[in-house]
Amino acid sequence: MARSWMEYRTPAWVQWCPGCGNFGILAAIQRAISELDIEPKKLTVVSGIGCSGRSCYYIKGSNMHVLHGRAIPVATGIKLANPSQTVIALGGDGDMLGIGVEHFVSVGRRNIDITVIVHDNAVYGLTKGQAGPTLPAWIQTKALPGPNLHDNINPVLLAFASGYTFIARGYAYHVEQTKELIKQAIEHKGTSLVQILQPCPTYNNIMTKQWYEERIYYLNEEEPDWDPVVSTHDEYIAKMPRILMKLVEWGDKIPLGVLYRNIAKDTFEERLSKIILNYYEYPPGRRPIEVEGKPLIDPWTVFKEKVVETQKI
């Protein structure tokens, strides 16, 4: 019997504004891990700075609250040190696609088996509503002194270009559907992105609940033959045009659901285990480093290429 999602709550006060999309995302994550029956200590939520960053205090896990933009490298370090851990890195669009965008990109190259959740509300909430990297140009949300002069980044297309092997988009107020996406993302072997569209009732008066709900649709509902799973190169070539169309679709219609999944690519951990053959058995966080307080190696043997035997002259 799986744990109830209630068991993943913590004593901390969930301190978001009323109507914040984060409540929905939190509930979706808690439900997803409960349905996957992940033991709280085997779950790690790493979060950056921002409203969403607080999530790691609200989900019972072995968690870490780090720096602005840096959830992904920390999550990577944790996963590599302890590959049996379920690791989720989460942050807002400012965190993941602004200050931390280099990590958002680079994790894709590694295909580390972690789940990246972007709480995308297109504004910086904690610093009073500045434009986030996903806010389209010329929109002036109420806290902005003038219209936004930056174009918006496309997180799912960027993730695709970066090598993510699972890309999905959800909507914060649809807890049930978002939960399903998060479950699939966690179960996917490799780097997964779940972009979650999230109204910010306090600062984003343009991209509101109504704005989103007029536009979003579920791919698997509107297009029953939608199949974004790729397992061979031929399949990749065949499915790519349609997948790309969905990755760039944004405006009057915004597709939700699994946009892309590649099950052919090996994870970084698998690549490592081809060099360090017993990597999974002796991962960095769980391997002996001494015997009776003494080092395990003798430099004169391991680094023998540096050793000169002078008697040989």
Partner: protein, 644 residues
């Protein structure tokens, strides 16, 4: 017989065979039973700029290199023009006789400032601005000239070896090196052994270079005669010797010290450490360990990251999950890591930052020596930012300090900044089994709970300030950079804030108490000497040489080496400084950073300073000269300027 003490340099274009020549020279001398020190000096250029390898060999380990040297090998015009005044009278100057007509202005890679100085010098002596003028001046200075007709020698080599000659640079430098070593009294068969050892498995390369060596000896012998005397064998014949740089030794120390995770972003002079480690990331355990653990090999995960922010953060993640983790960089990368250091302090995560200093500020002198990051290390991170700061003085210290830093990081759950520099990074020395002995090292991890109880608190308030460490995954918990409760939940409560600040302070009081005084400072030489030299880092062996030279001149001094800068050893430093009549501080930075810290922590103001800022290795002789100058004139500051 006086103990032989030989010192020479091989100059040439970067990529022009200097590295192999240096390595062959070091190996040859080691095979002959000598202790060696070899340092490479190169520019921030991939190929073509001038670089040189300076090597010193004697029976006991040489502590310093210095100019003038006993011999120079200069097989291109720029090397001749750069080093013609660096040879002692009576010393050897081996050069290519084919480049004498080369005009100074036609040498593109050469610095304009040097060209201007040379043209001025040559004009003042009525000499034309060509390479030959340098040779004339060297001759006037009493240097023994050994011109090699390189073109003809290479022609002969090409004829002899036929189509198999492909690596011209190596062969050319082997010729120059062998000619010089032969005249210095090193038997050609020793050089041949050195060549064979260096190129080991590459039989063809060995054959060509041995042929090149023979041609050079043949030419030198018939034109200049043999050496005056054969260099006697050194006392280390028959020993096992390790030839390694500071980069290598830190890599070895980390792996021996149980490092299981390292992340890094490429930067000079740090990345060679991680690259070396990466070659051995899945290693054989010693017999004893293999038996007791029942596993033959173990691995260390090494990740090249997208930037230094990622490097430090990945290490922090791995460390939080129980890995013994470190990252390695130099000043610019360290600057990017600053925010993360603060997180590591607040979240109490063990991590080692190995910082290989180079000349700054900014990109500065990326391939040159500097000790300008001490204050950067001390004050890295925002907020109150205590962390252990440790500086290694030489190769042996670098090896054990790498292990010690890892121990301290885990024991005290704190960042440890391990300071080293470019000189140590790229200087090779010979080491013996009793010096690099991993069985002398201990591995300590502090209080770890792998299976914590239900009431475990990650930030439990304890008397010594250290909360037992449980890795991520052992229990539900929270690590955070926000001020927090014992459980890790964020809090802004004034009472808890004070308690947590006090807890973290107590931790550093514990560290200060537990690190033995002899690991914080070392007083070298006679404790009763009236003159005390103060320094830190890679100047150690250089100053030790200087002490001996000073004593020969009747000046008795001791040397206070500061090893740990934080927690600052107030009492230990003050005890020594207040006993001395004259205190002279020696550093390779302009702000006199150690003196600043000494004044700040102890109130003791050092009045005399010797500094070097030109990016070149410090010489023992210039230290001696500067000390004498200060003693004579009472000068507050002497800037020493040796090097090419």
């Amino acid at each position: 017989m006086k103990e032989p003490d030989i010192l020479f340099l091989i100059g040439g274009p970067q990529g022009g065979g200097i590295e192999s020549a240096g390595q062959i020279a070091l190996k040859t001398l080691v095979l002959k039973g000598y202790s060696v020190l070899g340092t490479r000096d190169y520019k921030s250029n991939i190929m073509g700029a001038h670089s040189y390898y300076t090597i010193r060999a004697r029976f006991s380990r040489p502590g310093a290199i210095r100019f003038p040297v006993d011999a120079v090998v200069a097989l291109d015009a720029e090397s001749i023009l750069t080093h013609f005044t660096d040879v002692k009278p009576g010393g050897l100057f081996v050069y290519d006789s084919g480049v004498l007509k080369t005009k100074i202005d036609s040498i593109q890679p050469m610095e304009k400032a040097l060209k201007d100085r040379l043209k001025e010098l040559f004009a003042s002596k009525g000499l034309p601005p060509i390479t030959e003028s340098a040779i004339k001046i060297a001759e006037e200075n009493g240097v023994k000239l050994v011109p090699l007709p390189l073109r003809e020698l290479v022609r002969k080599l090409a004829e002899k070896t036929g189509a198999s000659l492909t690596s011209v640079s190596k062969a050319v430098n082997t010729m120059g090196l062998t000619a010089m070593m032969y005249l210095m009294g090193v038997e050609p068969r020793c050089v041949e052994k050195g060549i064979a050892l260096h190129f080991a498995a590459k039989k063809k390369v060995v054959n060509i270079n041995v042929e090149a060596a023979r041609l050079a000896v043949e030419y030198v012998e018939s034109n200049f005669g043999g050496p005056r005397e054969t260099l006697p064998d050194g006392p280390h014949r028959g020993k096992k010797v390790m030839l390694a740089t500071g980069n290598d030794l830190v890599a070895m120390g980390k792996l021996a010290g149980g490092l299981t995770f390292q992340s890094y972003y490429p930067i000079t002079p740090a990345s060679d450490e991680a690259i070396y480690m990466e070659r051995f990331r899945y290693y054989e355990l010693s017999n004893d360990a293999r038996e007791k653990l029942g596993v033959p090999k173990l691995g260390t995960v090494i990740v090249q990251t997208e930037d230094e922010l990622s490097a430090i953060m990945m290490a922090l993640g791995a460390a939080a999950a129980g890995a013994r983790a470190s990252t390695s960089t130099s000043g610019p990368g360290f600057a990017l890591m600053n925010e993360a250091i603060s997180l590591a302090i607040m979240a109490e995560i063990p991590v080692v930052l190995t910082i290989w200093m180079r000349g700054g500020p900014s990109t500065g002198l990326p391939t040159k020596e500097g000790q300008q990051d001490l204050l950067h290390a001390m004050f890295s991170g925002h907020g109150d930012n205590p962390k252990i700061v440790l500086a290694s003085g030489d190769h042996v210290e670098a090896f054990y300090d790498a292990i010690k830093a890892l121990n301290w990081a885990e024991k005290y759950q704190t960042p440890v900044v391990h300071l080293l520099d470019k000189y140590l990074a790229s200087t090779t020395t010979s080491l013996y089994p009793d010096e690099i002995d991993s069985s002398k090292a201990t591995i300590e991890r502090g209080v770890r709970v792998d299976d914590p109880s239900e009431d475990y608190k990650r930030y439990a308030i304890t008397e010594n300030g250290i909360s037992p460490f449980a890795p991520i995954g052992a229990k539900d918990m929270i690590l955070t950079g926000l001020e927090h409760t014992e459980e890790g939940f964020p809090t802004e409560d004034p009472v808890i804030r004070d308690e947590m600040m006090a807890k973290r302070r107590r931790k550093f009081e514990t560290i200060a108490r537990e690190i033995p005084p002899e690991e914080k400072v070392v007083l070298h030489g006679d404790p009763d000497a009236k003159i005390t030299l103060v320094s830190w880092g890679s100047t150690k062996p250089i100053i030790l040489e200087a002490l001996k030279l000073l004593e020969e001149k009747g000046v008795k001094a001791n040397f206070l080496q500061i090893r740990v800068f934080y927690p600052f050893p107030v009492k230990e430093v003050l005890d020594v400084l207040t006993r001395a009549e004259t205190v002279i501080n020696i550093e390779q930075n302009d702000l006199l950073q150690a003196a600043f810290l000494i004044r700040g922590f102890t109130g003791f103001t050092i009045k005399h300073h010797i500094k070097k800022l030109n990016g070149r290795a410090l010489w023992d002789t210039e230290v001696v000269q500067a000390v004498l100058e200060i003693l004579e004139t009472g000068k507050e500051e002497v800037v020493v300027k040796g090097g090419a």
